[in-house]
């Protein structure tokens, strides 16, 4: 199996979010960056498991500048064979997807993996875009997957339950919790990752059609109103009369 795993760099989950003075750019000062957790814990690890079971290769692809290499090296330490970085500063999901699809279309991958969403822009879009550009089915929010030859049986998370589907390769899959268990890279993996290639590729031209014009922080919450535990009638009254919610 020839597998491609799309990986993003995102701020750490606990990062404090702030913006520049005119609120047009995310302030990266003091931010720790990580590999997007869904890409790492579920997409990459499930791809590694498939490779271990049936042979093949796992290639990482990232769309971004050289400063993303640290995140890519972590993926190589987890076990990917090699990596491709499309060298640019991406401006939208469509831009990222276009770069991945342009690279992937010549490579005949059996499966393309990505995380269910990134924890920064929360779009859930790139996988679907890549799938449509490659004319492959997109299987989103996969939380279980078994392979039998070229046929995958996949459980998708849907509202209030699961949908079980079958699909033949090639396809694009977005990974949710349950698809695999997080792996911590060991020292041998980290050492090997230093010698694995990161193939740097120039981006294709693409005129972008969307952009973030400004950011804001959510309105601050008023202080929590504490209610006497002996007086739950008061809580019910507040929810009814003040919050008007029940």
């Amino acid at each position: 199996m020839k597998l491609l795993v799309c990986v993003s760099k995102t701020p750490d989950t606990t990062a404090k979010i702030s913006f520049n003075a005119d609120h047009t750019e995310f302030n990266e000062a003091g931010i720790t960056f990580i590999m997007n957790p869904y890409d790492e814990w579920y997409a990459l690890v499930r791809a590694m498991e498939l490779k271990e079971a049936t042979g093949g290769t796992v290639t990482l692809i990232n769309v971004g500048p050289a400063s993303n290499d640290a995140v890519i090296r972590k993926g190589l330490a987890i076990g990917a064979d090699d990596a491709v970085r499309i060298d640019c500063n991406p401006t939208s999901s469509l831009y990222v997807a276009k770069q991945i699809a342009e690279y992937a279309k010549e490579q005949n991958y059996d499966m393309v993996f990505c995380g269910k969403e990134t924890i920064d822009y929360n779009g859930s879009e790139v996988g679907g875009m890549v799938a449509d550009m490659l004319a492959m089915p997109f299987i989103s929010y996969a939380s279980e997957m078994e392979m039998n030859g070229n046929t995958a049986t996949i459980k998708r998370d849907i509202e209030g339950g699961k949908e079980t589907i079958e699909v033949d390769t090639p396809f694009v899959l977005s990974a949710a919790k349950g698809l695999a268990e997080q792996r911590i890279p060991n020292m041998r993996g980290i050492m090997q990752a230093r010698r694995k290639p990161i193939n740097v590729v120039s981006p294709v031209d693409f005129e972008d059609v969307s952009s973030v014009v400004s950011y804001e922080l959510p309105p601050a919450k008023a202080a929590c109103k504490m209610v006497d535990p002996e007086n739950m009638e008061e809580l019910v009254r507040l929810l009814h009369e003040e919050a008007k919610i029940i």
Binding site: M136, Y141, E163, S214, K225
Partner: protein, 320 residues
């Protein structure tokens, strides 16, 4: 020109989310000074009903291949409907189907997209719309510059509003490609409100001490007509089913009311629930970080306070 709304049906029935989508599309059409056209795919005997929420007509691609979700087939049908309706904006819900579809549709149409929005767009010469980013820790205003724009809407951001009566339904013949995905089984929990659609949610965490204690939580949910939810450790230890897990790795929700009972409020949990309109926290630890995100708090042992709250809610409901 029009705003095209994909209104999803399940087994021929519309869920509330379909009406939310049409209400959003109708309001967007008003901003743009145009009409709202709804689109149904597969079995949808009640398609005309979408007119009540503001659709001036309903396009219906009745191909049975569309009864189950397949991204390529749905994207092809939506692209055909965009052309038929002369649509400049495509609206869908950001649910499990929409998340699997929004990227495909925007790629197919070469369209700028805004996934997971929670406000109506503005159009003062440029088309802009706001969405949550950084897992609810910030809001971004996105400008879409393409001729066609694609938007998916967070569930429970807009309540369905009846503004008219049934609309004419036009059959649309779209060449739907043969599905490459075959659906083998759909298992949904029966008789409960699905979480992303729920307006009221009662959620509990490790403070419950064990699955055998969930009776008081289920009782509260029943009194309120609420959905039940849980934190990650509770789902991971199989005290509660996986689909109840809300938070960053689980489902992100924005109900009108979120009860967090015996949940400390780790940042990963807050990422999935902080957009809730009103949050009530019950926790015996006064230092629990959840109190900082709460509107109302009760600092006490949940095993004392939840039964008292259930009694008070019952009395309230009996007298309402």
């Amino acid at each position: 020109m029009s705003v095209l709304v994909f209104a999803e049906s399940q087994g021929g029935e519309f869920k509330k989310a379909a009406f939310e989508a049409v209400t959003y599309g109708y309001k967007t059409a008003q901003v743009l000074g145009t009409e709202c056209v709804a689109l149904c795919l597969g079995d949808a005997p009640n398609a005309a009903q979408l007119g009540q929420y503001g659709a001036s007509k309903v396009l219906h691609v009745a191909d049975a291949a569309l009864n189950n979700f397949d991204s390529l087939a749905y994207t092809g049908a939506i692209a055909a409907a965009v052309e038929a309706a002369g649509a400049t904006v495509v609206v869908m819900m950001h649910g499990s189907t929409g998340k699997g579809l929004v990227g495909c549709v925007s790629a197919r149409l070469g369209a700028g997209s805004a996934p997971g929005v929670n406000q109506i767009p503005t159009n003062d010469g440029s088309f802009k719309v706001k969405k949550n980013v950084f897992s609810g820790k910030a809001i971004a205003e996105v400008e879409l510059k393409s001729a066609i724009k694609v938007i998916s809407v967070m569930g429970n951001s807009f309540q369905p509003e009846v503004v008219g009566s049934d609309a004419p339904v036009e059959a649309l013949a779209a060449a739907v490609p043969a599905s490459r995905v075959s659906v083998k089984e759909v298992s949904r929990v029966k008789g409960t409100v699905p979480l992303p659609e729920a307006e009221l949610v009662v959620s509990a965490g490790r403070g419950m001490k064990g699955p055998e204690n969930w009776g008081i939580i289920e009782e509260m949910a029943e009194i309120l007509g609420a959905a039940t939810a849980c934190s990650r450790p509770v789902a991971d230890t199989h005290w509660r089913p996986h689909h109840e897990h809300v938070g960053q790795t689980g489902v992100a929700i924005r109900p009108n009311l979120y009860f967090a009972i015996g949940i400390s409020g780790a940042i990963q949990h807050l990422a999935g629930v902080s957009s809730s309109k009103v949050i009530v926290v019950i926790n015996k630890d006064p230092e629990a970080p959840f109190f900082k995100a709460a509107d109302y708090g009760v600092c006490a042992d949940l095993f004392d306070v939840v039964p008292k709250l259930n009694e008070a809610l019952k009395n309230f409901k009996a007298n309402a």
